[in-house]
């Protein structure tokens, strides 16, 4: 934070100063440049040779000629105007008289105006002198009192002479031709000049004084202009270099740049308009401007415009350095918005826009042809309809592609990885999407295959290990058997052999169960589906285990449906399920309690439920009970492998059934759902 603060203090401060200097130089350049420019096209240092002088002189001379030769006085105006019209034979018809009168009056009015204007103009002059003489009548007009006015005028440097044939002057008078036209057909001779030494009292004097002042100031102003221009160029170059970077030359953002460029431009325009209004409000009429060309207000106004535009330019330069000049625009944002959907082909948006646009155009054409006759309207209507039908067909095709993709996705979700549509059948806009789905499918397929392979390897391993365990176990069992027949010494020897016999039998059972559990859970078992009667199965199973129930002091209550329950399952697997849940009850049910076995039908399932009261408290979740090697008694002292329920569950699953266990206190309940074999009848 500290360095940043320092950076702000010195470096940013420096930049602000540079910018302020640049803006100030602009404010100086504008009036001084205007000043310099005003006489910049002059080659003379004499006021009498300037265009300003000549224009003024020329103007006055033209006025004098017009006054004395054309207008003369009011009476002359009235008669000459009327005569000029009356002489004209075209206007002799009575109907035109009114119009002609009006024209004459207008003409007279105009000429009287001119007369007075010129009179005023000439009155304000003290330095302009002239002498006009009609050589025929010797009538003359002049504004000087001298014995020989012509000679006096000729002595002036600025002397000019006109008659109807020639003009004699040493300058390019703008009104030369005009004056010559007025003199045409007359015998007037015009002599005009301006006093060599000007007298106080008119614009010639003021302008001369200003010109002399200007000539005096010119070198200084020029110096100021050059200095200001150099300052401007330097500061401008420097700020262009510095802007957008920090002390170390890293690119930095200005918070100003977060404003969209269009808005910046609008701000600038608003600022310019505001300046205009503001400056007009406080307009200062002043005499600082030497030739009344501009006022301080105007200069400030222009200066502010230029400075606003400069600041805008700096903002653009900064953004250009940060490479976000084009990005920081509303236009860019809008375009980006259109193309933002990265995975959607941009073409879609263009097509959609084009569709809307074409439709709008066609719609307008359609409306326009409403009044153009039936045939043209029908033609436009068919074009309009045809275009929309084609667009609709394209839309339908896209939707079909989407539908196909959805279908494939559904198949994949069901685990069917083979029924795949060729990608050529998918419309271009969805093809990437489709290929992504196919990638997911391939990934899933591989994962499933790997899992199946892994499970198969596991089963194979368990099978092989089981076979290898069985051979030594055969010997153990047989030699234990032989030991039993021997007369053994020692009072406990017989008991020990008995333990050996029991445990080796247990080991055999474990190996068999393990083998079966691994096969059942990996789905590596053949399932031969056939129609079976669930009631028959339960009665058979209970009959098989009847002696064991009696041994365990358990009473069995079988509650079967009266009609048979046809299920669709594998005969042997169903027996294993029944045997395992009954064996489970025999092992874990509390002696002298009842075991309830029910069969029933629910929806599309035939159901077996078996309920018993557990001898041990069941501190275990139903889910855990179907895991391999989990038993209700944590001590594992009771007979059993802990695989019975796991095997029953797996076998139920491979027959498309459901296997649930519920525990309510000591009440243990197993429910087996097997699909009914009557589905096709229903």
């Amino acid at each position: 934070m500290d360095t940043k603060w320092k950076g702000f203090n010195f470096y940013n401060g420096l930049k602000v100063i540079i910018i302020l200097l640049m803006m100030a130089s602009v404010l100086v350049i504008i009036p001084s440049a205007d000043y310099i420019q005003y006489y910049s096209d002059q080659t003379t240092d004499n006021y009498n040779k300037t265009f300003q002088f000549e224009n003024r002189f020329n103007d006055l001379l033209h006025n004098v000629v017009e006054y004395n030769v054309i207008l003369k006085n009011e009476e002359h105006i009235r008669t000459s105007s009327t005569n000029s019209y009356i002489d004209d034979e075209i206007y002799q018809r009575p109907s035109d008289l009114e119009y002609i009168n009006e024209e004459i009056n207008n003409d007279i009015e105009y000429k009287l105006n001119r007369l007075h204007t010129i009179e005023d103009h000439l009155e304000n002059n003290v330095n302009f002198i002239y002498y006009i003489e009609d050589t025929k009548t010797n009538e003359s007009f002049t504004n000087i009192e001298n014995e020989d006015p012509v000679d006096f005028i000729k002595k002036q440097d600025s002397y000019v002479f006109f008659n109807q044939y020639k003009s004699d002057n040493n300058s390019n008078f703008n009104y030369n031709d005009d004056i010559m036209r007025m003199l045409k057909g007359t015998d007037y001779e015009v002599h005009g000049a301006v006093y060599k030494s000007l007298r106080l009292g008119d614009d010639f004097f003021i302008e001369n004084a200003q010109f002399n002042q200007y000539m005096k100031d010119y070198p200084n102003i020029r110096m100021i202009l050059i200095a200001a221009s150099i300052l401007f160029l330097l500061t401008f170059a420097l700020i262009i270099k510095l802007i957008g970077r920090d002390q170390k030359g890293n690119l930095i953002d200005s918070s100003l740049d977060r404003i969209y460029n269009e808005i910046q431009i609008i701000f600038a325009l608003v600022a310019i308009v505001f300046t205009e209004v503001f400056v007009n409000m406080f307009y200062i009429q002043d005499n600082v401007s030497i030739f009344s060309r501009g006022s301080i207000s105007t200069y400030i106004e222009v200066g502010i415009y230029i400075n606003i535009l400069l600041l805008l330019l700096l903002s653009f330069i900064r953004q250009y350095k940060n490479k976000k000049l084009t990005k920081n625009t509303i236009t860019y944002e809008l375009v980006k918005l259109c193309f933002k959907t990265k995975y959607f082909r941009p073409g879609i948006i263009i097509i959609f826009t084009a569709y809307v646009f074409i439709n709008a155009v066609l719609g307008v054409i359609l409306l326009a042809t409403l009044s153009q006759g039936t045939i043209i309207f029908l033609f436009a209507f068919s074009v309009f309809t045809g275009f929309n039908v084609i667009a609709f067909i394209f839309l339908l095709r896209s939707l079909q592609s989407l539908n196909k993709i959805m279908e494939v996705t559904k198949q994949v979700s069901y685990g069917n990885f083979e029924n795949i549509v060729n990608q050529d059948q998918i419309s271009l806009s969805f093809r990437d999407f489709y290929n992504d789905i196919i990638s997911i499918k391939d990934g899933m397929k591989n994962a499933v295959q790997e899992a199946i392979k892994g499970e198969r390897l596991k089963t194979e391993l368990i099978t092989n290990v089981s076979h290898d365990l069985k051979t030594p176990l055969t010997s153990i069992i047989n030699y234990v058997d032989l030991l039993k027949r021997e007369k053994l010494e020692g009072e406990n020897a017989t008991d020990y052999v008995k333990v050996l016999e029991e445990k080796s039998a247990r080991l055999k059972q474990l190996i068999d169960d393990l083998l079966e559990a691994s096969k059942a859970s990996s789905g590596n078992l053949n399932v031969e589906f056939q129609e079976l009667d669930l009631n028959e199965l339960i009665l058979q199973a209970v009959g098989e285990c009847e002696d064991k129930f009696v041994d365990a002091n358990l009473e069995v209550r079988v509650n079967t449906l009266e009609e048979s329950i046809p299920i669709f399952g594998d005969s042997k697997h169903m027996w294993r399920i029944a045997e395992n849940i009954l064996t489970n009850a025999i092992k874990y049910a509390m002696p002298h309690t009842r075991i309830y076995i029910d069969t029933r039908v629910e929806q599309s399932y035939g159901i077996i439920t078996m309920k018993n009261v557990s001898a041990q408290p069941l501190d275990i979740s139903p889910e855990q009970l179907t895991q391999r090697f989990v038993r209700g008694d944590e001590s594992r002292t009771t007979e059993g492998s802990g695989l019975g329920l796991s095997i029953a569950e797996s076998l139920t699953h491979i027959q498309n059934g459901k296997f649930t266990i519920d525990i309510d206190g000591d009440l243990f309940k197993v429910t087996v759902y097997i699909p009914l074999a009557i589905e096709d009848i229903m």
Partner: protein, 231 residues
């Protein structure tokens, strides 16, 4: 009658020795071989009445040895294997074995199967059939004497058990449901028969079968019913 000879063939000598002891107790003369090649050699040299053959053995495995034996000999062969799957048993029996015992086996069961095969092989081929006699494998039911023998040994059954067995043997190979058996044997309608029939059938199996869990004659078709196997 001189002692019958049994050839035992297994690569595990501990098992060989144990089986030898059991068989010698039953007065059989025992030859031992540790692989298929050895077994074939002994079979050529000696007169053998029965072979107990392990499947997984070095040099020549049990199944290959059995195929060679079956080309010239008709003697009973009991396969002995750690492979306990149904498919293994079916393959073994289809290739010419008379019986299939899985390891680890119960010595009593093995001896019972040996005796059964031996008696069938040596005695019963010659008995002339009477019309009143129903027979399948070693199981014989004489409807006149109401007497049942398994491999020549008389089996005692209760009246109901006999009724069930006779009904099933008269309709050999056919599957009957509990209700059908009940209606036929008890002569009553089968309302709420519960598990009476299945308990009786289990008991019959325990009396006539060497291994009641893997019955040879009275088979359970789970979820459908019971049948007497025609052998």
């Amino acid at each position: 009658m001189e002692n019958l000879s049994v050839l035992i063939c297994d690569d595990d000598t501990a098992i060989l020795d144990a089986i030898e002891i059991f068989l010698v107790e039953e007065k059989y003369k025992v030859y031992k071989a540790t692989n298929g090649v050895e077994a074939l050699k002994i079979l050529e040299e000696e007169e053998i009445q029965l072979i107990i053959l392990d499947i997984m053995m070095p040099l020549l495995d049990g199944l290959s040895a059995m195929i060679k034996i079956r080309r010239k000999e008709n003697l009973p062969i009991i396969l002995l294997s750690a492979k306990s799957e149904d498919t293994d048993k079916i393959i073994g029996l289809n290739m010419g074995a008379d019986d299939y015992v899985t390891k680890p086996f119960n010595s009593l069961e093995l001896i019972a199967r040996v005796k059964s095969q031996m008696r069938r092989y040596t005695n019963f081929g010659s008995i002339a059939p009477k019309p009143s006699v129903l027979r399948t494998g070693g199981l014989v039911l004489d409807t006149d004497a109401k007497e049942i023998t398994v491999d020549g040994d008389i089996v005692k059954l209760t009246a109901t058990e006999y009724g069930i067995l006779e009904y099933l043997m008269k309709n050999m190979g056919r599957v009957f449901s509990i209700n059908q058996i009940y209606e036929q044997v008890w002569n009553e309608s089968s309302y709420a028969v519960e598990n009476t029939v299945s308990v009786h059938i289990r008991r019959i199996r325990e009396k006539i079968e060497i291994n009641p869990k893997e019955p040879e004659y009275l088979k359970v078709v789970w979820g459908i019913g019971y049948k007497m196997e025609r052998i």
